[in-house]
């Protein structure tokens, strides 16, 4: 299907992306490592935000589900789902939200190196 959600996940797909940009050897690996770090950081941030919101925002729960258990379930589903959404390529330029973050990172890096 044409609009199935493509990669952007993990080191391997990031490396492919780097090689598609005519980067070779060490440079390609640096590029892929940076992209992977950004992926992990985004995922971590999403999950921390979701976990924090549920554990503090929810009222006192009794019975089967404690607040902690609810937060665990919600965080895992949310982390997975929102990560997937942020990797969807949208708009006319076909760039995902995490793609924009990576672009921004490259721009800032360009000021120093």
């Amino acid at each position: 299907m044409s609009d199935s959600i493509g990669g952007g996940l993990g080191y391997y797909s990031n490396l492919n992306e780097a090689q598609a940009q005519v980067l070779m050897g060490k440079d390609a690996h640096i590029y892929a490592a940076e992209d992977t770090a950004i992926d992990i950081a985004l995922e971590q941030a999403t999950m921390a935000v979701a976990g924090g919101i549920v554990t503090t925002g929810a009222a006192a729960l009794t019975g089967v589900a404690a607040v902690g258990a609810e937060a665990v379930t919600a965080t895992v589903i949310f982390g997975w789902g929102l990560g997937k959404l942020l990797h969807i390529e949208f708009g006319k330029t076909k760039t995902s939200a995490s793609g924009w973050v990576k672009k921004g990172f490259r721009k800032i890096k360009g000021w120093f190196f």
Partner: protein
């Protein structure tokens, strides 16, 4: 109707709902922190939902209405969050702050997953526009009736006295201890769960085609929608208590007021 029934109950009937304030989990300062986190979270989910509702993909559906409903809600909540993050405001209007936090939680964990699941469903399955709107409205009505059912059930067990301090059904000490330890394991858990989610993503990418993955996404996010409704039902009772009893509020020094320091409903009658 429901409120009248709740008004008949005594302060001691709501003892277990006070644990979240007594344990120091929902102090006004903690709630301010969660409001600030919520602004970031809602912006992130705003990006996510825009990606899901990409107008260049499947333009035959009129997704703009749903998307603008979600964005207007989010915008209002972000403005309210900023207002209730100011110490001078939230120290005087603690009930208002709790209402904003509950609505923010509802938006983040329930309304956003609902719209995201609908948009992802449209990307995966071809539905006629009529069927799409019937599904959307049907799901919403189901969610609301679920919310009402939970509130009615809560009201009944409150009337039975299941939420009293000496109740046999729920152990008060245990609940309080669990509330106190809620935060302690969260950081380790988030780090471990990130790794788990990455492995899950790899497995799903490797063994399932994009369509089945999307369907799993839709099912899980609709489940999250109902979970959010469940959480909101408890929040409604918590807000009610905070509005009615002084002992659910914090004084100027940030200490919880003692039991029996005031009942708005009783004072009106006497």
């Amino acid at each position: 109707m429901l409120l009248k029934r709740l008004d008949k109950l005594e302060e001691s009937d709501f003892a277990l709902f006070r644990t979240s304030f007594e344990s120091g989990r929902q102090t006004p300062d903690n709630l301010r922190n969660v409001l600030i986190l919520g602004i970031i979270g809602q912006l992130l989910s705003g990006f996510g939902i825009f990606a899901a509702a990409d107008p260049t993909m499947h333009p035959e559906y009129n997704k703009a209405i749903l998307l603008s409903i979600q964005y207007i809600l989010t915008f209002i909540l972000i403005i309210c969050s900023i207002i209730f993050s100011i110490p001078a405001v939230y120290r005087n209007y603690q009930t208002g702050q709790l209402i904003v936090v509950s609505l923010m939680l509802l938006n983040f964990i329930s309304i956003f997953p609902y719209f995201a699941a609908l948009f992802m469903l449209v990307r995966t399955v071809s539905l006629s526009e009529k069927a799409f709107f019937i599904l959307a409205i049907g799901m919403l009505l189901l969610g609301i009736s679920f919310l009402i059912a939970i509130i009615v059930r809560l009201q009944r067990s409150l009337a039975n006295g299941d939420f009293r301090r000496e109740s046999k059904k729920h152990n008060y000490e245990k609940v309080l201890k669990r509330e106190r330890s809620t935060f302690s394991k969260l950081p380790e858990f988030i780090i471990a769960a990130t790794g788990f989610v990455f492995i899950l993503e790899f497995l799903l990418e490797g063994f399932l085609s994009g369509d089945i993955e999307n369907m799993i996404f839709v099912i899980l996010f609709f489940a999250l929608f109902f979970m959010g409704m469940y959480l909101f039902a408890y929040s409604v009772i918590s807000i009610y208590c905070k509005k009615r009893f002084s002992s659910f509020n914090f004084d100027k020094e940030g200490n919880l007021q003692p039991w029996g320091s005031g009942d708005r409903k009783k004072r009106d009658i006497v």
